[in-house]
Symmetry: C2
Subunit: 236 residues, 2 copies
Amino acid sequence: MTIAENNKAFLASEECSLCPTREIALFANLKPEELLQMHSPIQYKVLEKGEKLYARNEKADYIYTLHDGVLKLEQYLPSGEQRIVRLLRRGDLAGLAAITGDNYQHDAIALTKISVCKIPADIVLDLSHKSPELHTNLLNKWQLALTTSDTWITKLSTGPARYRVVRLMIWLAENSLDEDFYMPGREDMGNILSLTTETVSRTIAELRRDGDLELRGSNSARADVSKLKKIVKEPT
Amino acid sequence: MTIAENNKAFLASEECSLCPTREIALFANLKPEELLQMHSPIQYKVLEKGEKLYARNEKADYIYTLHDGVLKLEQYLPSGEQRIVRLLRRGDLAGLAAITGDNYQHDAIALTKISVCKIPADIVLDLSHKSPELHTNLLNKWQLALTTSDTWITKLSTGPARYRVVRLMIWLAENSLDEDFYMPGREDMGNILSLTTETVSRTIAELRRDGDLELRGSNSARADVSKLKKIVKEPT
DNA sequence: CGACAACTTGACGTTAGTCAACCACGGTGG
DNA sequence: CCACCGTGGTTGACTAACGTCAAGTTGTCG
């Protein structure tokens, strides 16, 4: 924890310029004098695995920049079914709805230990009118979220179980920093892919038998991505 | 066609203020003097059913406001499968990626005869820096698209065939102006719900037998929405 | 009126869901 | 330190749902 102590508020102007996530986050490219305008406190927070960052329909006053870990956004249906709509990682924004004044659209729950910056939405909205860079960053983040959401529909909710699981593995592997990648629990994968835990488990077992996937500890795995891509006929 | 003749360019400053779609579209709440800044021509276009508005990976230079009709956004997978990612209707924006300088992410194809305004992206981007209203509108439209996309994942790609079809019917009925609503072809519905045309056909037939749905001409239907909601256990 | 496309229906096969038992691991407390 | 329990994961047998293949039927447009 190099930036600030857990849960301690600090001034963005002092600390943001030192933040290792900044270059890929919302405040990338902001000029120092613009950062200085953010006089209102920004909180750095750490959540343990399983903790909830915010809940659906809650009044949305903050947006969050994810520094580290994996965060799931999920929605429920009246019929009891449940769906994970996106996974967020380093650099992603959670709670975008805060900026348009809507309530939060999802439950946001940490899949691993995560660290976030908690930013008052009104500050971002205000600054987005003054800083062209932030304005652009914001639009880009939004577009990225939309693209991801669309991709999840096509890649992760379409076709037979095997394809879906493989496409998820590819996505996880390609969004990982090192060779081992984080692999969610079977139930969570089920809720990402709209499959049961048993089906996910069986499919993972198959992939292991075929030598396409190697488990490495409880929530971690390694794969030959180009082999996986052949299965779903993606260009390498 | 009250606004302008088909394919004829015209000046936004003159015509936009008369546009019946404006209040729900991108340029809502813009001040007359801001509209005047849009000296660059905006085209009004009509596309027939089946025509393509833009294609995936094409350089995205324009965004489109949909005045009338239904537009589908679809994506293909290397494995040959195909998915409709969203349906757009009156007031929706197509080609948002143009603003962030990306290429188009989908094929956009008219499901009915449609009319659109074709707006150069650079104008919108430029004006969004100057007009707080447009800035806000833009963020709202983006948020709306994201919400819709997430909803499609949870509601239309989750659960048994019957539920999916019913949820689609509800969505179509609630987004329609009058009691009859537009109902896409069986194949398109299949690509929205990730089901085969046969399954969709059978499910529609069931709903008709149960008296929950009434067909009215080729691409039109009528339903008792509250009955449909009971099926999927949604509050009325 | 004919031709084609969209839709429907049936019989059958396959895949994924269900139900249930079992196993592996990690943490807790005796 | 080890026995116990709980959670998450695996595996099997069976079932239900959906996909596939194929033959009809309806509707639409030239």
